[in-house]
């Protein structure tokens, strides 16, 4: 597999510079801005508010995601993103703590330069922490792009997304650091972060290529979750 030169001079596995700041909106219960290169998303959390919407289980907390595109009205793509985000965030929040409540997450796209959905998941996750919503673990999302030759790059820009044959958005649980011994935190002989929360793919690829994406995405997710943890910690200290 020949090396492919990326426009911005990154190597295939290199992510764009990350930036995360929390507590940037006054009125929201929690908020965060997540930047990945030129892609920027703002997430605001409101709630938990009393009551659940119709057709939702009142015995559990309800999560609602509202997607605000950079411009224009929302269409099918935005509806799909809302649904994916909702189900992803539901799986990382502890829904039994605040039954019969609704937590709204408003996702505002500031600028889209590729890997928009993963960026939004990361932003929402940081905003949930900022709002103090009880969570089982954090989640980190990453985008993998595949070229015709099977060559794989991480965290693509918009231009790269358009030129590649297929791509996969993957969401992993972040690696946990707990007081338990390492064996105790294993799920069926594998660490939890080897599981996958969400997978969305576009374009045709070989099954082996997809598995390759999983492997590389998982490796990169470790770096991402280190960054997320570090940035959450540093801001916690500055808050107090």
């Amino acid at each position: 597999m020949g090396e492919m030169v990326r426009e911005d001079g990154r190597t295939a596995n290199q992510l764009r510079p990350l930036n995360c700041s929390r507590n940037i909106l006054n009125r929201a219960h929690g908020s965060a801005r997540w930047r990945q290169g030129d892609t920027e998303v703002l997430a605001a959390v409101y709630g938990p508010k009393a009551g659940t919407k119709k057709n939702e289980n009142p015995e559990k907390a309800c999560i609602e995601v509202i997607w605000k595109p950079q411009s224009g009205q929302i269409g099918k793509l935005e509806k799909e993103y809302e649904m994916i985000m909702k189900k992803t965030l539901q799986s990382i929040c502890i829904l039994t703590v605040n039954p019969n409540t609704t937590t709204s997450i408003v996702v505002q796209v500031v600028h889209d330069d590729g890997a928009l959905l993963p960026c939004a998941v990361n932003a929402a996750c940081a905003a949930l922490v900022d709002a103090g919503i009880p969570m089982k673990h954090l989640a980190v999302a990453i985008c993998c792009c595949l070229a015709e030759s099977g060559y794989l790059i991480l965290d693509p820009t918009k231009l790269e997304e358009q030129n590649m044959k297929s791509l996969a958005y993957l969401v992993f649980p972040n690696s946990t650091t707990s007081v338990c011994t390492e064996e105790a935190s294993l799920v069926d002989g594998e660490p939890m972060e080897h599981g996958i929360i969400t997978s969305v793919t576009h374009g045709v690829m070989l099954v082996d290529n997809y598995l390759h994406c999983l492997e590389r995405g998982r490796a990169a997710s470790a770096k991402l979750s280190d960054f997320l943890r570090k940035s959450l910690k540093s801001q916690l200290q500055s808050d107090s």
Binding site: I84, K87, S91
Partner: protein, 314 residues
């Protein structure tokens, strides 16, 4: 169909075993009050309440040509989930960038007849999501060569409106919708048309055929479009270490983690869709889902082939 339920009555070990009717009522109540425990008791015995083994999909049928007012149509049933897909061909002016390509517009509808959860005036939340998934899958699979839908380069091309209606919603909506869509395309006949003096494309009725054919005929005979690498899908529900293929609506609502795998006829991955859910999918689980899908697409291909050959005999 009900025998499975009856078989399980003994294993439910309910306190009341006086009379058949009495215990049947108890099972029903148990199912409603503790749905998860009800299912787990079944899963431990490697069976489902409808008597299916975990990896078996429900009975599947395809009928082509269900709607006479469309250019191509099909009715697909997976268990009681029923989908009606129909294609209507209209003419458009192709875009400047792609003068030799037609277009496909895909819409998925959930009318209020299909489920007690859908009310008129309040469209179902999942409908636009399934719609988007279907167009992504069909367009990215390369099943249809859009160049085949061209009529006059730069002037006119076909716009294929594919509308899929869910008539009965009982789980695995995407699988049934994709199957009906693929079947509708295999039934599609492109009508005979010609270019008239105003530069418009008009349909040639059968009486006019002989005389007018040479004069500006664009599409001389009814033809089918070639379908390459047809995509088929299988939805599975994950619960603990169990993988349940082709879930019913009840199974989807109780065990929330859903994985949909779409493979084409050369076993390439068109989509692997897992929107969240409480169960984390390990690589080996995803590989199992892909393996189940590989088996399933062989069944689906056979069902589709039979439906097509059945049409040709008529």
């Amino acid at each position: 169909m009900f025998c499975g339920k009856e078989d399980k009555l003994e294993t439910m070990e309910l306190p009341n075993d006086s009379g058949d009717l009495g215990s049947e009522m108890e099972v029903d109540a148990f199912r409603r009050l503790f749905p998860l425990r009800f299912y787990e008791r079944h899963l431990a015995e490697s069976i489902r309440p409808d008597a299916r083994p975990l990896s078996r999909a429900r009975d599947t049928t395809v009928a082509l040509g269900a709607v006479a007012s469309a250019n191509g149509s099909a009715l697909a049933k997976i268990g009681s989930t029923t989908m009606l897909a129909a294609i209507k061909m209209e003419v458009m002016t192709p875009s400047v960038e792609l003068p030799d390509e037609g277009c496909i517009a895909i819409e998925f509808h959930m009318p209020p007849i299909c489920s007690p959860l859908v009310r008129p005036g309040r469209p179902a939340e999942v409908a636009p999501v399934v719609s988007k998934q279907l167009s992504d899958t069909i367009l990215s699979s390369g099943m249809i060569n859009l160049k085949e839908l061209s009529l006059v380069s730069g002037k006119a091309a076909w716009m294929a409106y594919l509308d899929i209606y869910c008539l009965d919603a009982d789980g695995a909506l995407f699988d049934a919708a994709l199957l009906s869509a693929v079947a509708a395309f295999s039934h599609l006949q492109i009508p005979v048309v010609s270019l008239n003096d105003d530069g418009k494309i008009v349909m040639l009725s059968e009486e006019q055929d002989d005389g007018n054919l040479d004069k500006g005929a664009v599409n001389k005979e009814k033809r089918k479009i070639a379908l390459s690498s047809i995509p088929f899908s299988l939805t599975c529900v994950l619960h603990k270490n169990y993988i349940l293929a082709d879930p019913t609506a009840e199974e989807e609502s109780i065990m929330e983690t859903v994985v949909t795998v779409v493979l084409d006829s050369s076993n390439q991955l068109v989509s692997l869709y897992k929107p969240g859910g409480p169960v984390l999918a390990r690589t080996s689980v995803l590989q199992d889902c892909v393996a189940l899908t590989r088996q399933r697409i062989k069944e689906l291909q056979n069902i589709l082939d039979e439906a097509i050959s059945g049409m040709e005999v008529d």
